[in-house]
Symmetry: C2
């Protein structure tokens, strides 16, 4: 897959402090897994490793998806929006994307009685993220 990245340097760098929203989508199933922000550092790390990295707003730094869980996401394809300010990363995930134990962060669906859990859990978050206190 590395050859796809040779086109990236022409498009970089991003302006300092600029964040691009990136939709993370399962390349095989089409399931949308996450919506994250990328900065220059994240794009460079994606290009260097072929794996999803993103800017984590709570930790205020770039993290590798899967660095705690082992649920890395290999980037198979990258898409750019018509206005050039949004991305899709089509990925092959090594495990569930959501820290709450689901394949996708979008596991709640609007129903007649409000938001309901629509997807099955695919892992136990307390086993995978022992350092996080889960209050929900």
């Amino acid at each position: 897959m590395q050859e796809i990245w040779s086109g990236l340097p022409d498009w970089l760098p991003l302006p300092a402090g600029k964040l691009l929203p990136a939709i993370i989508q399962d390349a095989a199933s089409g399931m949308v897994l996450m919506l994250v922000d990328l900065n220059q550092e994240a794009l460079e790390l994606i290009s260097a490793t072929g794996r999803v990295h993103y800017y984590h707003p709570g930790r205020r730094k770039v993290v590798a998806k899967g660095e705690a869980s082992g649920h890395f996401q290999d980037v198979m394809e990258m898409r750019l929006s018509c206005r050039g300010d949004q991305l899709i990363l089509k990925v092959r995930p090594a495990g569930g994307a959501c820290e709450l134990g689901y394949q996708s962060c979008f596991f709640r669906r609007l129903g007649p009685d409000g938001w309901e859990i629509a997807d099955p859990k695919v892992f136990d978050p307390e086993e995978v993220y022992p350092e996080i206190a889960f209050s929900h």
Copy 2:
């Protein structure tokens, strides 16, 4: 589909000025079509009409997707992220989503030589949007 919206009022209103990013995804194919922002007014119009409305940053107001093109998007399902601040709207589109003539705004794919057009045009934008001057 209207019954799905009865759960929405419990979750609203959004704080004034708050924008939620919403991924617009084709419900049948799984193709990601657009990434837009919703505010309170857009959510109320979606709930009232069952069709995608969003905050248009250039025009600084809420617009109905398809109001110029006729390419409306009927909302079939709504998903909420784990942190409660991002949405997916799964839609049935009446035509291409991108004003440049493509089914999806994400018609550019990163290749060895940079961003390349990866999808076919599905309509002629100069016919559908005669009021827009296309310079690209």
